[in-house]
């Protein structure tokens, strides 16, 4: 599964994207964030406040409870500030 990070999530994780194997017990976007936060200091910093982090699966906005099964690309980023 491909993960992508944007803005300060990208800066904290230290890379724009990576391919990872997600263990079978991790089934939702929220669980994925919790699992990532335990992967190391940079991830713990990036996902310290999971409630402010937004996610998209295959380029569509999703919620923490959304299942990740079948996802090709999951992106994590802060609240958007365009316009």
């Amino acid at each position: 599964m491909k993960l992508r990070y944007f803005a300060w999530v990208r800066e904290r994780v230290g890379k724009p994207e990576e391919d990872i194997e997600v263990p079978p017990g991790v089934t939702t976007v929220g669980e994925l964030m919790a699992w990532l936060a335990a992967r190391g200091e940079e991830y713990a910093h990036a996902f310290a406040n999971p409630q402010v982090i937004r996610a998209a699966i295959d380029r569509t906005h999703v919620e923490p409870q959304t299942p990740i099964k079948g996802a090709g690309e999951i992106a994590f980023f802060p609240p958007m500030t365009g316009g």
Partner: protein, 161 residues
């Protein structure tokens, strides 16, 4: 009735007036033309800034804006819609985004332009970073922008103030 619509993401500056002209040229059904231009200001949260850098999610942002342009065309009797949003580094005074809407009557053109701008501010995958006194900081999302965007949900248009 030809409904023109254009969505473009680009690093280069655009010409807002030329984009507006494209939606009216050679037709006589347009009665109202609204052009909104968002410009890089020289300050952010009361402090001077040297520049702004816009990061975006390539692929997602185009599709998301297209989807909202379609929604605007379903909600209001539009004759044309253009959205051009820049990314990369910009200095104060440079244009960031332009939204142009045309319709027979003004209410639809105004409403659609505001709807698209409220959307771009809060839900389109863009992130702004500013350079203040040599330091780069990410701009925080504003609650007022979320409230403005929220007024388009649940059917009709709600008061925004």
């Amino acid at each position: 009735m030809t409904v023109l619509s254009t969505v473009r993401l680009q690093r280069e500056p655009f010409d807002a007036a030329a984009e507006a002209a494209k939606l009216t040229r050679g037709r006589s059904d347009v009665g109202a033309l609204v052009t909104f231009t968002g410009i890089c200001r020289g300050d952010e949260a009361g402090e001077p800034i040297a520049a702004l850098t816009l990061e975006h999610y390539p692929g997602m942002v185009e599709a998301e804006i297209e989807r909202h342009v379609q929604e605007a065309k379903e909600r209001w009797p539009l004759l044309g819609v253009t959205v051009i949003h820049r990314y990369g580094r910009m200095v104060p005074g440079e244009d960031i985004v332009v939204v142009v809407t045309t319709s027979s009557h003004r209410a639809a053109a105004f409403a659609a332009a505001e709807f698209l701008m409220d959307y771009l501010k809060t839900r389109a995958p863009f992130w702004k970073q500013v350079e203040k006194a040599g330091e780069k900081t990410w701009v925080e999302a504003k609650a007022t922008d979320d409230a403005a965007a929220g007024r388009w949900n649940a059917g009709g248009r709600q008061a925004a103030e």
